[in-house]
Symmetry: C3
Subunit: 343 residues, 3 copies
């Protein structure tokens, strides 16, 4: 950790200081958790109330924010600026340069770049290529013929099967498996016969994948995780599914096989998607939704089966009113009968 003045931080993020620019900052925290010496941020005005009780020494805010009593850094994108400040104050995790451990198992014909680290008990099989400055942690296995780019990090206990292709600056967290066989069987006379899964997996540049995910290889052709997409933990991606660039998948999402997902989509936690459908660009899917049909660009869907959020909200509200509906129906029925009798 380092100490910076508010002035220095403002310069770093391209912001404008309001208040005492000499205030020293040693840490970063949310409004609620910040103490003396911490900088915080206000990205969403619905949290403005929390500013009043926050003990933060400075707050990064949007250009129009008006908080006269506080030391502020005003900027266009406060959350992005906060990220820049966190990087400046704390830095990203550093990976010790251990070189290639004599306790790792590296095939003689593997093509290993410069400044690569391969930790104890990692296994790199034949015909593997690993780019410069990549770090393979302990107990990982990299299957035959797999290519890994430069500046990647594979945390302990990751498995990459044979013939996969991983781009540059890819991070894969522990326990994740890439390239296992997809779920493909031809059932004949009640017995399930395995279809060889001879495709691969392509993970493009700047992807990050969380812990204990499972990315199937393609049956024929590849499964693809697009550039800059980020996956959280315990996510299952089926064979031949293609995820476009810059999408976000929250934990425990499951996408079946042969799905096409566009760019800049957001999948909430535990979303499920059936196979062979197409999800457009910039689609938002609410947590636990079950998507069974194509979704056009920019639509927000929720529910299982998933439907447009506006429609869903209306019907779900009415679901709560069902007891009222029944009561009303009975009243109407009674009144009508009486009317008919009387008439």
């Amino acid at each position: 950790m380092t100490t910076k003045t508010v002035k220095e931080l403002a310069e770093h993020v391209g912001g404008v200081v309001h208040g005492d620019q000499t205030v020293p900052i040693t840490g970063a925290a949310t409004l609620n958790e910040a103490g003396e010496g911490d900088i915080s941020f206000l990205a969403n005005l619905k949290y403005e109330k929390e500013v009043q009780t926050s003990r933060a020494s400075a707050i990064i805010v949007s250009e129009e924010a008006d908080l006269p009593d506080r030391v502020l850094i005003r900027c266009r994108d406060p959350y992005y600026a906060f990220m820049q400040v966190v990087v400046l104050l704390y830095g990203h995790r550093e990976h010790e340069k251990v070189g290639i451990s004599p306790r790792a198992s590296v095939a003689a014909n593997a093509a290993i770049g410069r400044d690569v680290d391969i930790h104890d008990f990692a296994v790199v099989l034949h015909d593997v290529q690993i780019g410069d400055n990549t770090c393979i942690y302990s107990n990982c296995t990299i299957g035959p013929g797999t290519k890994i780019g430069r500046d990647c990090v594979l945390y302990p206990n990751v498995t990459i099967y044979d013939g996969c292709c991983i781009g540059d600056r890819v991070t894969i967290h522990s326990g994740t498996v890439v390239g296992q066989d997809g779920f493909g069987y031809a059932t004949h006379d009640g017995v399930h016969h395995k279809i060889p899964q001879v495709g691969g997996v392509v993970i493009e540049d700047d992807v990050e994948i969380g812990a204990n995910c499972a990315i199937d290889r393609g049956t024929l052709g590849d499964t693809i995780i697009g550039r800059g997409s980020k996956l959280s933990n315990l996510i299952a991606i089926g064979h031949n599914t293609k995820i476009g660039p810059y999408s976000l998948l929250v934990a425990q999402v499951g996408i079946a096989g042969s799905v096409q997902v566009g760019h800049h989509c957001v999948f909430g936690g535990q979303v499920g998607v059936v196979g062979h459908i197409k999800i457009g660009d910039q689609v938002k899917i609410g947590a636990q939704a079950g998507v069974i049909n194509d979704v056009p660009d920019k639509l927000s869907v929720v529910g299982s089966p998933a439907w447009p959020i506006t429609q869903a909200k209306r019907s779900l509200t009415l679901l709560k009113e069902l007891p009222e509906f029944r009561k009303k129906l009975r009243e109407l029925d009674k009144s009508l009968r009486r009317l008919i009798q009387d008439g």
Copy 2:
């Protein structure tokens, strides 16, 4: 990859050629993705439209299919025949014969069959038995007293706990754990006391289990995965649950403890099943369903809580009509009031 003529492929699958039987085939692909030299298949007539635009050089179809302009192989079960062709053209993954690596750790009293491969940094503990021609990949651990049959494959980073029993021709993908303690506690005065989990796990012949699954051992008695059943990725099976033969479980299914599942069941992705219930034979459970009661043989259920698909479809359609219902109720109410007033 090899090249075969359409005639050779037809003979291999017991089909009948329509059109030029000398066409050379070098690959297999779906109708959409096939190019020159590829063979494809049409198993479901709803995809017939895709035949028109497909660039496949030949198509495997059912006996009654009528596609005069294409080179066809007609047969009884096109998808099964396609599987046979894929196996012929590409083969299944081959496992390099490495023998028992000096960098593996194998207990002195382990009974290891002939032609067994144990890769670097795998651990085989005391009293383990491993059958002929089985392959244990790197960084797997096989617990004390566990028996593994012949022709099995355990991919890297699999853990089998103590005292489990795995049949012949079983495949387990990376990261999967078999035999961890089930979730059993007796809560007394607010503290959860662990119940020893002293049962085992039996995985019968010809089972395949995907990546990062977790199969609990039994509390007393065994958890059983029946012969020929196939599990996809990230599946959780609770203690003492018994899954019948030839069932299919799609990714992220969770089955609690002491559930009995019949044969030839199909569980969609993310299905959840509560403990201590009985699911019959040939039951189909839709993705994301939550099963909380016994399900009789051959029934299809969906939804959470799960109910028969026919009933569910009706009510879910009506759920979308709730705004209409409310409108109608109000109109009726208004008309009735007017009528009563007027009367």
Copy 3:
């Protein structure tokens, strides 16, 4: 296994024998599965019917149970007593004392307590502290600066990242990952920029975590799993979430970031919880529920989105009656029209 008389078992659990106290007991089982020589239990009167067909030689029951023909041990908490009997008869799993394997990789400056076992191919990095009598199984990795207390067990293939803190008597099953980076990005001009995750994970005393779970480290500050809480398999816990003591989380639960969970809560399987909410004490959440708002103490909620169980049951029953509703609405409409016409 040992043999005990019913008298000895009754004394061990502080119960009172009804019937022949010399009956020898060699095993324990559920009512359904028990045979000659087994002791079983009846904790819930709804299973009383199973007593009649059970072949158990003795049954542990509550103080008021009345089953004249059977050998009984009456006590205050039959399930707790059964657990004590299972421990007495079978014991907990024993961990072979292997010491520190020469095939493990242990940093020179790691502080290792007395009677610690570190198995083959486990990796303990610099500045790690491990308390007395803890067992680290094969292929685990313990990141730099992590502290692990005494009497812990980490099963094979567990990964603990850097700077985590694990209490005493903690058990972590295979494949689980603790301390991977949370899902934190600042999206700017369509690109997701990683926010360094510089917090840690605190796992308090007496916690047990199942297989293949993923516990995110905090962004700033810690993720906490409270004392005596028990997690089953394939559970995802987001960054900075704090789970109170003695809570139970069934398999495949997913809790997003910055959630506060109270003490003695019970989460059913596949429950999802959105970020930044507060779940009170002794809350019960039904399987597959999706919690999107704060839940007050002691409430039971179900459904997605989750609502109080009493309310949900009413509306879900009515959901099944929707076809009836529509029919009734149409009848009313018809009657009314006729009435208006006639009038």
